[in-house]
């Protein structure tokens, strides 16, 4: 889900004279307008906008208020009702211009454009909303056989992946990279069981508590009445605690490819275990995959992630990706004292150019920055590459991540109250 800043909303339609769409609108009496708005709403819904019957009624009312004399007012009336996030604007805009020119045209276009999708050719990114629109109007029957096929495959694997206890122990320390297909399946199941109990931090909200020195006046008054008012027993409250938000930034470049799948499983387990987790993947560009990973079914989730990400196993531009994160996402997801986990081997195509500044900005905007690096499994690991040297001074902890044990250690580390920042990298810094 790339958050491309949309062009400024078009003001211009106000000045355009009677377009074919307007003439069409003029011919429509109210009896026809309402069904058309409904149909338009359904198209948007199919394209992924959260539009229920209530919204369609709202839209009809809105249009009746504004009237259809001005195409611009008509546009913005529907916009106010149907769009409720900025990134939906593009989709709405395209759908509007196609639909209200001629509702039939949209369907005809689907017919013309569909074969191209079937051929598997990826359309250029700026046409993506349109593609979603096309898919919205055509029923995706062609998807089904594929997923069924995959399910069958999946089952087969599960059958011969039974393990004894000793195998499980071995699995704990085996490098993900060296695992066979069966072992990977087993490891995936182990990961699915993992929980991430991050130390909770106090919030500014209160809950009833038998101890602690804050008097809950409201509860006290109620208790006083219950007892008849001779004595007033004090009731207390304490601060509620809550785990901080967690943001995971995962490198999916070529050098990480052997690990990527495993990390996806890990991120999926974490995302579904708790609220306020945000997940981003980056190679040469940054993709927010939080929504896909929220899907309870791991296979569907991974399939959607695969579709959404375009830079699998390519080069890495860590600096650029982090810069995107800092500019477009950090203010939205790092709000309430987030912990950031950066999963990357630190091998950067841009040789660390501009990386230090970005990682430092990230470090300053979060509660804790933990760097997980699969390269750390090698005993003689030396922080020599430029990328690694740029990142290391700005992280709070530096940990390996290459087998199940290291993932479990990570969980342990997150569960301990954190010491002073940067404590976890002191020994590495002295080595540099």
């Amino acid at each position: 889900m790339a958050d491309t800043p949309a062009d400024p909303p078009p003001d211009s339609p106000a000045n355009t004279d009677l377009t074919p769409g307007m003439q069409l609108l003029d011919r429509l009496d109210d009896n026809k307008l309402a069904p058309n708005i409904m149909h338009f709403g359904r198209v948007l819904r199919a394209a992924g906008l959260p539009i229920g019957p209530g919204k369609i009624i709202d839209a009809t009312q809105a249009v009746m208020e504004v009237g259809i004399q001005s195409r611009s007012d008509f546009y913005w009336a529907l916009h106010a009702v149907f769009v409720n996030r900025r990134d939906q604007h593009e989709l709405f805009d395209q759908a509007f211009h196609i639909f209200w020119k001629d509702p039939k045209l949209l369907e005809r276009m689907m017919g013309i454009l569909l074969p191209q999708i079937d051929s598997g050719e990826a359309p250029p990114p700026e046409e993506q909303p349109l593609r979603r629109l096309q898919e919205a109007l055509s029923q995706p029957q062609d998807d089904k056989p594929e997923s069924e096929q995959e399910e069958e495959q999946e089952e087969e694997i599960e059958l011969d992946a039974a393990m004894t206890v000793s195998e499980r122990e071995l699995l704990q320390t085996m490098d993900f990279e060296e695992m066979s297909a069966d072992e990977i399946e087993a490891a995936k199941r182990a990961i699915a069981q993992m929980r991430l109990p991050i130390t909770e931090i106090p919030t500014r909200r209160y809950q009833v508590s038998p101890r602690q020195a804050r008097v809950d006046m409201r509860a006290t008054m109620r208790a006083a009445l219950r007892s008849g008012g001779d004595s007033i027993p004090l009731k207390f409250r304490k601060r509620r605690t809550r785990p901080p938000p967690l943001v995971i930034l995962c490198d999916i470049s070529g050098s990480m490819s052997r690990y990527t799948r495993m990390f996806l499983h890990f991120m999926h387990a974490v995302t579904n275990d708790r609220d306020r987790v945000h997940t981003f993947l980056f190679g040469t560009r940054l993709t927010n995959v939080t929504r896909y990973l929220r899907n309870k079914d791991i296979d569907i989730a991974i399939e959607q992630v695969t579709d959404a990400v375009e830079d699998w196993s390519g080069g890495t531009r860590i600096g650029e990706s982090l810069s995107d994160f800092n500019r477009f996402w950090s203010r939205r997801v790092l709000g309430q004292g987030a912990i950031v986990i950066l999963i990357s081997d630190g091998l950067d195509r841009d040789a660390g150019r501009g990386l230090h500044m970005e990682i430092e900005r990230l470090h300053k905007s979060c509660r804790r920055l933990i760097w997980l690096n699969p390269l750390l499994r090698f005993d003689g690991f030396q922080p020599k590459s430029q990328g690694i040297q740029a990142i290391l001074p700005s992280v709070d902890e530096f940990r390996p991540v290459h087998n199940l044990n290291s993932l479990e250690e990570l969980i342990g580390a997150l569960n301990r109250p954190g010491g002073p920042r940067k404590q976890g990298v002191q020994e590495w810094l002295t080595e540099m």
Binding site: S70, D73, W76, N84, T203, R204, M221, R332
Partner: protein, 306 residues
């Protein structure tokens, strides 16, 4: 409703203009619908693009009371909706005892009555003012609170009512005009947005920003205003962590007037850049040669256009 609400989109445009607010027609359309259909208007956008101002202008233009709820983390029912006046309640219990009042239920009815209720902004917003007009409720920077607070808002935004367990439901005779703003430091839950009309307030284009400056800083020299606007527009195309908003443009123009400048020069830009950019990284990036380059482009552009 028998009130002074504008009767068309054009009337809203005029109303905003009358309140010294220069906005796009698209904003007026959303605002008109919100007023007409009695829905809250949810305004999202970067800091300093004039979201809060809309609420203020609206209250002034319509002659309504403005009730503003500034959100912050930990905002709860007792500071946003209502609270009981505990000390008064205690005194009342003592008096009842002294008077030999034994009926516990009566005491309870008595101390949980409206007399002991301290009304906070959201509850106040359900009451009409002396002339019988409902107020304008401005819920500012909703993204600053945490998710639990959004849940309190749901009842108020959909039915314009508040349920107080000890008393019952308080419903507004006439629904207030509700404006909600958010800087999008996090996504607001869909349940809130679903009840509102949504509008994304964008940075204005050069023409619009020039208009805004003319209205907001009328004594600025024409030449300076144009340079300022062009400079800021150029900055917004740069790779900066925080882009300057309209508020910054206005501040900067005011600052330049205080410095008695009628023409931008690199030295002035460098020394006053802190008014425009609020992050050290950004200032470092622009200060010096970059600022001089932008200034050259700006002046060349104006010369070519004039």
């Amino acid at each position: 409703m028998t009130d002074n609400l504008p009767s068309s989109v054009d009337a809203v445009v005029d109303m905003l203009r009358g309140g010294n607010y220069v906005g796009d027609r698209s904003l007026s359309t959303a605002l008109y619908l919100a007023l007409k259909l009695g829905r809250p208007l949810f305004l999202e956008g970067e800091a300093g693009v004039g979201k809060t101002e809309i609420g203020k202008v609206l209250s002034e233009a319509l002659g309504r009371r403005l009730i503003r709820l500034q959100c912050y983390e930990g905002l709860d029912v007792s500071s946003a909706v209502y609270e009981w006046n505990y000390s008064m309640q205690m005194i009342d219990i003592r008096i009842a005892e002294a008077a030999g009042q034994q009926d516990r239920e009566r005491i309870e009815d008595d101390i949980f009555s409206e007399r002991f209720l301290i009304k906070r902004p959201l509850l106040q917003a359900l009451e009409a003012d002396d002339s019988g007009q409902p107020p304008v409720l401005l819920i500012d920077e909703l993204d600053r609170t945490d998710e639990p607070f959004e849940a309190f808002l749901l009842e108020i935004l959909s039915d314009f009512q508040v349920t107080i367990p000890e008393i019952g439901t308080v419903k507004a005779a006439k629904p207030p005009i509700v404006i909600i703003t958010s800087n999008r430091t996090r996504e607001i839950h869909d349940a809130i947005k679903r009840r509102c009309f949504y509008f994304w307030v964008d940075y204005p284009n050069a023409r619009r920003e020039l208009e805004i400056l003319k209205v907001k800083v009328p004594d600025a020299p024409e030449k300076l205003t144009r340079q300022v606007v062009e400079f800021v527009q150029h900055l917004r195309n740069r790779d900066l962590f925080k882009l300057p908003g309209v508020a910054e443009t206005i501040d900067w123009t005011n600052a330049l007037i205080q410095l008695d400048k009628i023409d931008l020069d690199p030295e002035t830009v460098n020394s006053s850049l802190g008014v425009l950019l609020k992050y050290q990284d950004d200032i470092e990036k622009i200060q010096g040669s970059e600022a001089a380059n932008i200034l050259d482009e700006v002046k060349a552009g104006i010369a070519a256009g004039a």
